[in-house]
Amino acid sequence: MLVTQEFTVSVDDKPILEDINLDFGPGIHIIMGPNGVGKSSFAHALMGNPKYQTDGAVEFFGKDLLAMETHERSRAGLFMSFQTPTPIEGLSNFQFIKQCLDSKQGSPGITETLAKFKGLTDEFNLPNEWDKKHLNVQASGGEKKKNELIQMLMLNSECAILDEPDSGLDVDALQILTNVIQDFASNDKIVIIISHYESLIKNLNVDSVTVLGKDKTIRGDVDLAYQVLDEGFKNIV
């Protein structure tokens, strides 16, 4: 469970989100909201980006999330996919994921890890020798998004916040994405998706929809998402 209580997020002492009370259990949750309302900030603040100051409380599987450093949040089972993942020269995709796994307890051996990684890059139709390519360097937008999902699967996190995982993906890739998310969620995982795309929403078994507004936050089921897609945000938040 991920539970936020009066969760407030600010940048340079300017509040972006105030008093957010939300809970997320196993299943698929969609977060929507007008541009600039602070959806990405919500994700980054939960992950511990030092750019943001936070207030209130966030409980993550019984632990005080806000008291943890970013790497501790990851090790506790939180994952976030980035809209624009940062390129790191000289660090190969596989070397990176192996390092991440090694930083956790009970990491599998290199052979097993590589086999799993290559299986996933094939499944995602990524170029050959993806393992040797440098992290987010000279990769297309779609490739980067796929790479983020592969990291999520490799780390096998308990809770994944996906920040617009569908932007920049072609139709085939979108199909893979929906299958992967649905499959991942079916293992009792929490998946929180920031998205506006109908095609993604209608192909997933959505458990809740949250609309973040300037002054209020609305919770509903998948019909709330369709209402937003039909009418826009202005009548809702």
């Binding site: 992950m47 511990g48 949040r73 790191i88 000289g90 660090l91 990176f96």
Partner: protein, 483 residues
């Protein structure tokens, strides 16, 4: 990067000193000092003359001041110019000196070789031969017999002056004349020991040749001199490592390294420089004022410099190539890391003289804390160096209040040559660190991955044994540099 955890702190691990009985000169630099030095080494007259000429010229010139470094004036009269541990011959090396090199991680079979147990275990195939210089003298040189079978001479320069005077006479000062610059001139007057290598025609040296320099004595300058000659169609890979105790006075190190390659010969010269950098307040540390230059004398010959510089309080060093032979190739790959109050002014010169000559420069500067890190480069393509090429890439990565400076100078005197320059400078981004940390890596590990990735192009140029050492050294250096 698991090596990080093996080190509990970022103390300079080579900072201990060794207590051993030594023979030292009283401080002071006069013509008598030079004569006394030459006499103690039983040098022939032409070497004494070489030294005296340099000494006399030294009196007429001044230390260079153009580098972006600051240090208290050096009192040359307060330094001692000779310090040698006492032992009768190389079979009786004092145990505390053997222990010193054991502590510094000179591998066991090499140490065994130091004791004269060469190839006792038939399963140990030597891959590296070592010349060990302790303050002013060479302590031992391993695998000399093995190398001799191939006609390779690998010994201390003092020994070479006695045993191979004709070779030393021909080449000493031929690439870096005594009058080249202040520190080279000082070295020419008072050089104590160093390494000499000669690779005969057509011979590919079967092992890496390695010199390990250790400063131990306090208030003693180290002035080593290295001369490597690769005759036609030969090849050698040479490695150089260095450490010093943590004293709170500065220690002066002014070395000269000369390389010569004949037709189609190649010298690959790698350095991992880890002289004591001083403490966090900038007290103590080695002043590393070094002149290194290679002459590609023959056609299609090649000289490649690779350096990983993490130590020294102040570095002033520009390993260079004179590309005289047609089709000759010069390379310079460098990683320079500075932290605390360290100052580095380093780079290279590529002087294209022959036709179709090529040079590549890849420089990576990483600076932390209040340090300053300058790349200074000169590429000169002469009017007869038709169809020549240079590629230069200079990247800097900065953190905290550190300063990085890139000063490339290019001059081209013909129309058929191509010079390319790429440069980047950036702060180690918070965004990149957050991204890596969000996948479970702690801050130190995240910084390591970014910096190691940044240096990868250069590390790949190092010989295998050295690459691991360089990596480890970098990780230890980075530890505690962040935050």
């Amino acid at each position: 990067m698991t090596s990080v955890n093996q080190f509990a702190n970022n103390k300079y691990t080579a900072g201990f000193n060794t207590v051993t009985e030594t023979e030292d000169f009283e401080p002071g630099l006069t013509e008598e000092t030079v004569q006394k030095l030459s006499a103690i080494k039983k040098e022939p007259e032409w070497v004494t003359e070489f030294r005296l000429k340099a000494f006399r010229h030294l009196q007429t010139i001044k230390e260079p001041t153009w580098a972006h470094v600051n240090y208290a004036p050096i009192d040359y009269q307060a330094l001692s110019y000779y310090s040698a541990p006492r032992f009768r011959n190389k079979d009786e090396i004092p145990p505390e000196i053997l222990e010193t090199f054991d502590k510094l991680g000179v591998p066991l079979h090499e140490r065994d070789a130091l004791l004269g147990i060469e190839s006792k275990d038939p399963n140990i195939i030597p891959t590296v031969a070592v010349d060990v210089v302790f303050d002013s003298v060479s302590i031992a040189t391993t695998f000399q017999k093995e190398l001799k079978k191939h006609g390779i001479i690998f010994c201390s320069i003092s020994e070479a002056i006695q045993e191979h005077p004709e070779l030393v006479k021909e080449y000493l000062g031929s690439v870096i004349p005594a009058k080249d610059n202040y520190f080279a001139c000082l070295n020419s007057a008072v050089f104590t020991d160093g390494t000499f290598c000669y690779i005969p025609k057509g011979v590919k040296c079967p092992m890496e040749l390695n010199t390990y320099f250790r400063i131990n004595a306090r208030n003693t300058g180290q002035f080593e001199r290295t001369l490597i000659i690769a005759d036609a169609d030969s090849y050698v890979s040479y490695l150089e490592g260095c450490t010093a105790p943590a004293y709170d006075e500065n220690t002066l190190h002014a070395a000269v390294v000369e390389l010569v390659t004949h037709d189609r010969a190649e010298i690959k010269y790698s350095t991992v420089q880890n002289w004591y950098p001083g403490d966090e307040n900038g007290v103590g540390g080695v002043l590393n004022f070094v002149t290194k230059r290679g002459l590609c004398k023959g056609e299609s010959s090649k000289i490649s410099w690779t350096q990983v510089e993490t130590g020294s309080a102040v570095t002033w060093k520009y390993p260079s190539c004179i590309l005289r032979g047609d089709n000759s190739v010069g390379e310079f790959y460098s990683v320079a890391v500075t932290k605390g109050k360290q100052m580095a002014d380093t780079g290279t010169k590529m002087l294209h003289v022959g036709k179709n000559t090529k040079s590549t420069i890849v420089s990576k500067g990483i600076s932390f804390g209040d340090s300053s890190n300058t790349y200074r480069g000169q590429v000169r393509i002469g009017k007869n160096a038709h169809n020549s090429r240079n590629y230069t890439q200079c990247d800097s990565l900065m953190l905290d209040n550190s300063k990085a400076l890139t000063l490339p100078v290019v001059s081209q005197y013909n129309n058929s040559s191509i010079v390319e320059h790429e440069a980047s400078a950036g702060k180690l981004s918070e965004e990149a660190l957050f991204y890596l940390q969000s996948r479970g890596l702690d801050e130190e590990n995240a910084v390591n991955l970014v910096v190691n990735g940044f240096c990868k192009d250069v590390f790949q140029k190092l010989p295998l044994e050295f690459a691991a050492e360089a990596n480890q050294l970098l990780n230890v250096t980075l530890e505690g540099a962040v935050g």
